[in-house]
Amino acid sequence: MAVDTTINAPTERAQSGRFEMPTTIDELRRSGIGDSPLPAIDVNDLKVYYDSEAGIVKAVDSVSFTLQQGERLALVGESGCGKTTLGMALMKLTKPPGYIDGGEILLDGRDLVPLNDEEMRLARLAEIALVTQSAMNALNPVMRIEDQIFDGLIDHGIRDTKENLRNHVYDLLRRVGLRENVGRMYPHELSGGMKQRVAIATGTSMNPKVIVADEPTSALDVVVQRQVMMTLSRVQRDTGAAVILIGHDMGLVAQFADRIGVMYAGKLVDIGTVQQIIEEPKHPYTKLLINSVPDLEEKRERLTGIPGIPPPLVDLPPGCVFAPRCPSVEDVCNELEPRDIDIGDSRHVMCHLFDEDVNMAGRGVG
C-alpha cells in the first residue's frame, strides 16, 4: 500500500494525513504489507478514560507496548480489566462517555490519535481492521455477505468492475475456508463459525497491517473455536498482518500468540513471550492467573482461584492496583505505584519485586 518507502516517509505521510490508497482490485492485491522497518503498531502511554458520576474511570491507564510486523500478541485479563476498551481505542472507536486522554498509537509510524474522523475512517479496514467479539451479530442481517464486503472496499475508493470485486470476495471467502456461494447468502443462513470466518474475510479484505481480534471465538463451541482460530492463523500467515488477539482463555491464546500481555485493572502489568509467561510468570497476578487455569495434564487435589475481586476503576487503591489481592504484598506496594520494569528479553513487568530501586524483602520469591 505504501508506495513511498523512503525512510522519512512516515513523517511525510503523517503530515499529509493520508495513505495512498489503491483504487482497483488489482492495485489492492499488489499492495500487500510491504516490508516496513517500523513496528506494525507502537502504543505509548495510552490512556482511555470515562467520565462517570463517581469520578473518572481509568479503563486503560498508561499502556505501552510494541507489536512488530506480522507478530501475534494476545491481551488477556479478567472481565473489566480494560482489554476490550484498549482494542476499541486502537481502532479509535471509543464511544462517549469514554475518550482517549492521551498517548500515541503509531501505526507503521503514523500516529492515529490526532487523525480527524475522515482520515481515521480511511485508515480503518485499510490499515487496521477489527474482528469483533460477537461476530454472530456483526453482520447486517438484511444484506448479502458479498455486498457487505463490497461496501468496505467501495468506501475506501476501490472503483472496479462488479466481476473483479466479486472475484476478490470469492478469493477472500476461499481463504477462510468458505465456499464461493456464501457470498450470495444472508447472515441468517450461516452457522456461527461461518459468520465468524466471514468476519475474518471482511477484516482482511484490504490487507490491513494490523488486525484487532476481540474475543473472536467467545460465543463458539470448542470444535468450531479451533476451526476459527486456525483460519485466523492461516490468514495471518498469508497476509503477514500483525494480530492483536484479545481473550480471556489462557489456553486459547497460548495456542495462537507469539507474545502475551496480561492486563489488570486497566494496566498492562506483564508482557512477554508465550513461553516466558506460561513457564516463568513473573508478576504475582500472572502467576495466580496461570495457576487458576485447570488443564488436562493432571488432576489437581485442589483448584485454586484468585482471592478477592478487582478494585473499582473509579477508586483505584494508591500504590499497586493488585496490592489488595497480592500474596507477596508489602508496605511499599500500598504506597508507591510500580513502574514498568524492563527485565530483559523484551519482557516488561509492573511490580516492585523487580524494581532494583525499591526495597522489597520478598524479592526473588517468585
Partner: protein, 326 residues
C-alpha cells in the same frame, strides 16, 4: 389471520344487536316509520318486509346467521333505512375512493417523513440540530387526536387565512368531472386540510418510533462493525441503520392501521369529507343500522387487506422472513 379478523368482525356485527334482547333494527325501523323522518312511512314497511324475507327472521338463529354471512360475502348489506331504497353497497362505493385516497396518501406521507425525521434525529452525525428544533413539537402533536388538530387547522387556514376551503370533497357548485383538470385541482385543494391534520398528527408518532428504533440499532454489533469497516456515514446510515430500523417500523404500520382509520373517521366528519367516515356519521345520527354494519364490515376488510399487503411486502424487506415459513 385475515380470514379470522373478517369473520370475527362480521359475526360481531350480526350477533351484537341480537344480544340486546330485542331486535333494535326492527324497533328502530318502526320508530322511525312512526315519526315519519326523512322517508315515507310505507317505505319502512317495505323495508321491514324485505329484511324479514331476506334473513328469515322467524327462522332459527343459525340459519339467519348463515344467510347473513353469505350476503356479507357478496357485499350485499341490503338497503339504507334513511335513504331507502338506496343500497348500502352503493353508498359505500361512492364514499370509499375518497377515504382510501385521503388515507393512503396522508398515512404514507406521514410515515415517510416521520420515519426519516426520526432516523436523522437519532443519528449522532447528521444535521441533528435542525431536526432537534423541528421534530419535538410533532411528538406533542402525536398525543393530540387528529380531529382536534383538524379543527385548529380549519380555523387557521380556512377561516382566518382563507387559504383553503372549509370542508367537503369539492365545491358544492361544481359538478364532479374526473377528466377535468380544474376539478381535480379542486379535489386536491379540498383534501389538503384533512390530509394535513392526519399528517401533522402522525409524523410525531412515526418519528418517535423510528428514533427509539434507531437508538436500539446503534447498539447493534453490525453498526460497530460498519464503523470499524470504515464505511462513510451516509452508507452506514442508510444501508445499515435505517434499513434495519425500518423493519419494525413497518410492522408498526400494520399494527397502527386500525388507529389511523379510527382517527380519520372523525376527521372526515369534521371536514364534511365525502368519505366513509361521513357516511358512518350520518348513519349513526340517523340510526341507519344496515349502513353502520356495512361500513364497519368494509373498513375491517380494507384494514385486513392492507395488513395482508404489508405481510406480503415484508419478506421483500427482510430476507430472514421467507414466504414458506410465514
Amino acid at each position: 389471520m385475515f380470514v379470522a379478523v373478517v369473520f370475527v368482525a362480521t359475526s360481531f356485527n350480526f350477533f351484537l344487536p341480537r344480544f340486546t334482547g330485542q331486535d333494535p333494527i326492527a324497533t328502530r325501523l318502526e320508530l322511525l316509520a312512526a315519526e315519519g323522518v326523512t322517508t315515507r312511512a310505507e317505505d319502512y314497511k317495505a323495508l321491514i318486509e324485505t329484511y324479514n324475507a331476506k334473513f328469515g327472521l322467524d327462522r332459527p338463529l343459525v340459519f339467519q346467521y348463515l344467510t347473513y354471512l353469505s350476503s356479507a360475502v357478496r357485499f350485499d348489506f341490503g338497503a339504507s333505512i334513511t335513504k331507502y331504497p338506496t343500497r348500502v353497497g352503493e353508498l359505500i362505493n361512492q364514499a370509499m375512493p375518497w377515504s382510501i385516497g385521503l388515507l393512503v396518501t396522508s398515512t404514507l406521507l406521514a410515515f415517510v417523513v416521520g420515519t426519516l425525521g426520526g432516523a436523522v434525529l437519532a443519528w449522532q452525525h447528521g444535521p441533528k440540530a435542525a431536526f432537534e428544533l423541528i421534530l419535538p413539537p410533532f411528538f406533542l402533536l402525536a398525543a393530540v387526536p387528529y380531529y382536534l388538530l383538524g379543527l385548529i387547522l380549519i380555523w387557521l387556514l380556512a377561516f382566518q387565512a382563507k387559504l383553503l376551503p372549509l370542508g367537503g370533497g369539492y365545491a358544492p357548485t361544481t359538478l364532479p368531472d374526473w377528466s377535468d383538470f380544474g376539478f381535480l385541482f379542486e379535489v386536491f385543494k379540498h383534501s389538503l386540510l384533512p390530509a394535513l391534520s392526519i399528517v401533522l398528527a402522525s409524523i410525531g408518532f412515526w418519528a418517535l418510533g423510528m428514533r427509539s428504533m434507531m437508538i436500539t440499532m446503534q447498539g447493534e454489533d453490525y453498526m460497530l462493525q460498519a464503523e470499524a469497516k470504515g464505511l462513510t456515514k451516509t452508507r452506514s446510515f442508510f444501508r445499515y441503520a435505517v434499513r434495519n430500523a425500518v423493519l419494525p417500523q413497518t410492522t408498526a404500520l400494520a399494527l397502527t392501521l386500525p388507529h389511523v382509520v379510527s382517527g380519520a373517521i372523525l376527521v372526515e366528519r369534521i371536514f364534511g369529507y365525502p368519505g366513509v367516515g361521513r357516511v358512518l356519521y350520518e348513519a349513526i345520527t340517523g340510526f341507519d343500522y344496515f349502513v353502520i354494519q356495512g361500513v364497519v364490515y368494509i373498513i375491517v376488510l380494507a384494514i385486513a387487506f392492507a395488513m395482508l399487503v404489508i405481510d406480503v411486502i415484508y419478506p421483500l424487506l427482510d430476507p430472514r422472513i421467507s414466504y414458506s415459513s410465514a
